[in-house]
């Protein structure tokens, strides 16, 4: 029975970890390509969740539509954020754009409360309750779909970044802005696209979170910005694969930590992880030099 318990905690941790991975992935893309950090990632997750909520309300529980809705809604918000918080401050000291994103996060959160209403909204049974058993391991259909979506999205990102022209342009901007400009890449536009991709990832994560926890609220994004950052520190904030790994690790650490103590210590574990990572390996496990700080 004990092993069953541990296995289920591991599965829970993995599923949560996959969600964190998607969020951290988006975060790493933004920090890497734009070169500036964001405090408003949690609110974009919330926007994605609400976008999919309204689509489900209008068109039934169609996952593909939900994905498209959350993707596009957060892409658009990404454009707004870029214009408002980043474009003007690309050359300025980084604290200015950071504070701009803090202001934007406050704006979005309160606007959402006004427009959507402050109460929790249900996202019931978008995916039916079904449990699959693989030997001693039990995974629910929801968890399956979430992990599957995250894997598909991350792999797509990997392919885009490594094989397509656009992706290589994005990576080169991430590595060295001046050099990228010198070889003729439109740095400004590329940065914006990078930002939008990162936001879109967060938006899809929002939809998945809504489906998993079966409810959404305007303040749901609050702690998720921190989790994104914590997870991304594993990859020095900029490495996409390592940040995703960081997300999975964070999810596992939190859940296993809770299983040996109490759930009210969840934040202790995630902040503990963050502090330890920042103290011992602030640049993450990234080996290459010249990565953005």
């Amino acid at each position: 029975m004990l092993s069953q318990y541990i296995i289920s905690q591991v599965v829970n941790g993995l599923c949560q970890g996959f969600i964190y991975a998607l969020i951290a992935l988006g975060f790493a893309v933004i920090v890497g390509i734009v070169g500036l950090a964001t405090f408003t990632h949690g609110e974009i997750i919330m926007i994605g969740a609400y976008a999919s909520y309204y689509i489900f309300l209008a068109c039934g529980h169609n996952l593909i539509l939900g994905l498209l809705a959350s993707f596009s809604a957060s892409w658009i918000v990404g454009i707004i954020i870029y214009k408002l918080c980043y474009e003007r401050f690309l050359e300025a000291p980084e604290h200015i754009s950071l504070i701009c994103t803090i202001g934007f996060s406050m704006l979005l959160k309160n606007l959402a409360q006004i427009v959507f209403g402050a109460e929790k909204k249900p996202m019931l049974n978008v995916i039916e309750n079904q449990i699959y058993k693989f030997g001693p391991v039990e995974i629910s259909k929801v968890q399956f779909v979430i992990m599957g979506t995250v894997i598909v999205l991350s792999t797509t990102m990997m392919i885009i970044f490594n094989k397509t022209k656009w992706g290589i342009a994005l990576r080169s901007v991430s590595q060295n802005r001046e050099a990228a400009a010198l070889v003729g890449i439109n740095v400004k536009q590329t940065s914006m696209i990078g930002n939008c991709i990162g936001c879109a990832m967060a938006g899809v994560a929002g939809m998945l979170i809504g489906i998993y926890y079966q409810s959404i609220s305007p303040t749901m994004g609050a702690t998720l910005s921190m989790k994104a950052f914590s997870a991304a520190t594993l990859g020095g904030l900029t490495s996409v694969p390592l940040s995703s790994l960081g997300g999975v690790v964070l999810g596992l650490i939190e859940n296993l930590g809770i299983s040996i103590s109490t759930a009210s210590f969840r934040d202790v574990f995630s902040f503990g992880f963050l502090i330890i990572m920042l103290i011992f390996k602030p640049t993450g496990f990234v080996k290459r030099k010249g990565a953005r700080p």
Binding site: Q4, S8, Q9, N110, E119, K120, E254, S259, A263, S264
Partner: protein, 399 residues
Amino acid sequence: MKKNFVKKVTAVLLAGTMVASLVACGSTSESGNSATETTAVVDGTSKGTIKLGLVAPLTGVHAEYGQGFQAATKIAADEINAAGGANGYQLEIEVKDSAADPKTSADIVTQFCEDKDIKAIIGDFTSSACMADAPIVDQYQTVLLSPTASNPDYAPMSEYCFSVMYNQSNMAPWVGKSVIGKYMGVKSVAVMYLNTDWGISTNEYLLKGLEEAGVEVLADETYEENETDFSSVIAKLKASNAEAVCILDQGNVPTIINQIKSSGWNPLLVTQGPGASQQLLNLCGENAEDLIITDSSYITEDNPATKDFYQKFYAINQCAPTDHSLCAYNTVQMLAKAIVSIGDGEVTRESIKDALKTTSYDGMAGTVQFDENGGGVRQFLILGVEDGKYVVKEDYGFE
């Protein structure tokens, strides 16, 4: 050069806004800047108006409940005024937003107390805010009647502190002994509770009741208020093999129920705290079937007792009312009843306080009165959920 000019102009404009706000703030002083509630019925026999203050979180993380207070108190005051007022006095409610920040709440309560026209204050939502307000109302000798403060330390802080929401020392042991032990008849239970003053004290009293009934507590887990993923806690409870799960929480209960069901586990579920509201049924859907819930009433459209309130509330806030709003509704009714019982005497802050102590109100949710500390004592039903509706399983007074 032009940029510098633009910057200077903007700086001057901002400074100007600052000064203008200062002037605006100063000139409108205490009773301005806020929404005044209720349309007073113009009636020749009206004795005048009694003003009440409402301090609640209209913004911030508890905005849902604060806005609920606002709507519910308005409904109550409108009903009372339309029926001729409380002993002939029209009720007027002034609302200010505390954002559930105890400091802001204390400042607003001070402002209310300074306004001689305000005879009693309703609010705040969180126990933290109420406890920060307590020394102030004690100093100014004004009643502070909270719909929902449930920290057992709050009401004893001052004879002017009252709270409608049940004192855990009454309700929780009853839930343990009579609901779980006797009515449900289970031998073992796993408990999960919210890590706040409400949750901790409720859990303490619940365990006492369970012990008395001889029910074994196989797990007793706590978690933070802003928790969203309960899978780890649920896994722990599942591993304990208890027959039933008791959830002590308010806003998270629907999420917890959903996550328990989607983990493939089907224990008997009993909950105390969220209140039997339509919102819970909406958020849980069929996951709420066979749930046992204790409350002083259930607030849905099909309950003839609460239907009217439900519809009026929905018309204002576009969402279903919760138990918290019902408690807010009750506060106005109880104050009105207290005013009525003063009779021909003068309605002052002191006389309201004295009258409130002995007020007992019989409304759509059983009888409400106060114990010697000012903590609310309510009656409770045992409710079940069948076919997506609430069903009364046991009436008030089940032992």
